[in-house]
Amino acid sequence: MEPSAKLSQKGESLSVERQQRQTNLIDFLRTIQKPNKPVESLGIHDSLVDSGLIDSLATLQIVEYLETTYGIDFASMGVDPEQLASIAGILDLIEKSRP
C-alpha cells in the first residue's frame, strides 16, 4: 500500500499542495532509508531516527534536500533535530519557511 494512501486512511486531511510535498518527501526518503526499514511502515508522526529508518548521516541529506528543493536557509534559522524527526515535522517546517 502506498504510504500516502495509508496516511490518508488515518484521517489526515491534507491540502493538495501538502500532499504533493509529502509524496515527494517520501520518494526522497526511499533513496536514503536503510534497506530493512521501509518508509511505508511509518506513520507521518513516527520518529524517523528512533524507528531505525534513517541515521544521523541521513539527517544531513534531509537538510540538503530541503535546501535545494525548497530553498530553506538553515544558516539563519538553525537546524532543529526535533523538527526533522518525523515526516509531519518536516512538512510543517517547509510550510513555516515559505515566504
Binding site: 528512533d50 544521523s56 548521516l57 537538510v63 540538503e64 536557509d73 538553515f74 538553525g78 533535530p81
Partner: protein, 454 residues
Amino acid sequence: MRARIALDQLGQFHENPAVIAWWCRLGGRALEWQTPARRRMILVLGAIWIGFKEPLETLARRNSPSQMPDELGAIVVALLAFALLWLCYKAASNFKSLPAFVRRHPYISLHLLYWGLIVFLLSTTPALGEWRSILVGVAFVFPHLIWRCGYLLQSGLHDRVAGTRFRDHLFYLWPVFGGSNTPYGKGFDYLSRCEAKTAEELARSQLAGIKLLLLSLAWSIVLDIWEAFVYGSGNSLSRALGAQPVVPYLNDLAQQPGSAPLWVAWASLYGELIRDVLKLAIRGHQIIGTLRIFGFNVFRNTYKPLLAESLVAFWGRYYYYFKELLVTFFFLPTFAQLGRKLRDRPDLRLFAAVFASAFAGNLYYHMLKGSRLLGEWQVPWPRVFYCFLLATGIFLSMWREKRRGGVTPPGGLGRRVLRIAGVWTFFGMIIIWNTNDGHAFYTRTMFFLSLFGL
C-alpha cells in the same frame, strides 16, 4: 532455530504485549498514580538534593584547598549554580527578547560567559578573599551544567520553553539519575517527546528500563570475569581464583614500548577496547535504565558497538549521548552555517562539519574543566592527535557511506567479520592516544610503532 527464536523473544520481553499487560495488572493503581507530573516532581526533588550534594563533593575532592571555598562557601556555590540555571531558563523562555547576538549565537554566548569567569579568575589572586574562592567553585561546577544549559537554550531557540515552569527543566539540568558532563537523555525537547503519557506507555518504558538494568548487571559480571582472566588482578574474583595476569593493561604497556611480545601488545589493545565498551555500557545502562523507569523511554547510550561494520556506526553506538552533544552543538550549526558558502561543495561542507565536531568540539569538551583551565595548563598532544584521527576516520566513513547511496555493502559472514575487525582495529589503535597526559605523546607513539615491530 527454535531456540534462537525463544532467545530473541526473551531478549525482547519488554515488547511482548502479554508481559506488558501483566506488568499493568501487577502495577495496578501504582502505575496509575505515577502520572508524568508526579514522576517529574520526584526527579525535581532529587535534582535539589543532587544540586547541593554534587558541588559539596566536587569541591571537597579538589587538591588545592587554598583556592577552594569552605563548606559554607560550597553551599553558596550550589545556590549560585541554581541561580545560573534559573537565569538560563529565563533567557530560554524569553528567547525572542534577547540581544540579537545571543539569539544568533546562543551556545557561543553561554560559553563566553563561562570563559569570562575563567579570565577574571586567572587575572586575580586568592588575596581577593572568599568571594573569589566561591567563583572558583562555580568555575569547577559549571562544566557539569553547561551542555545541559545548551539544550535548554536550544529549546528556547525553537520556541518550546514558553509556558513551562523552571521545575519542568530542573530535573534534567541537575540529573539525579546520573551522568557525566554529557547530558544522558539530552534535554527538554527529546525527553518530552519520549515521555510516557499513559499507564501502558509507562509499563512499556519501565520494562525496557528493567531490561537495561539487568543488562548492566550482566555486563558487570562479564567485566569482572574479563578482568580476572585476562588481566589476572584487580578484583575479588581474580584474587579468589588466584588468576595469573595474561595481558597487561594498555596504560601500563604504553609506558614501556616494546617490553612485551607482539601478540601480548595486540591482545592488550583489543582487550582495552572491550573493557572500555563494557564500562561505558554498564554505566550508561544504569542511567538510561533509571530514566526509563521514570517513564522517559529514550535511546540507550551504548548499543552493540562491537558489532558495528563502519567507523561512523561504531561512533554512533558507542557513546550515543556524547555523539549527540557533538552533533547538536558543533556539527549541525557548522553544517547549517556553511550552507550558503559550500552548497555546491558537499564533501568539503561535510569535512568541515565533521572536523568542527569530532576534532575541535571533542577537544574543547575535554578541555572544559575548571581544574584544567585554572591549573597548570599544557597542550594535551595525545588527545589532539586522538581527535584528529577520530575525525579523519569518521569523515572517511561518512563520505564512503554517502557515496554508496544507501546500498548495503557486500554480504557474507567473512566480509562482515573483516569489516568488524577493521572497526575494532581502528578504535583500538586510536585509544592509545586517548589521554590528557601531555608528556605521554612520544611514548605512546613509540608503543604504536612497536605494534608493527618498529
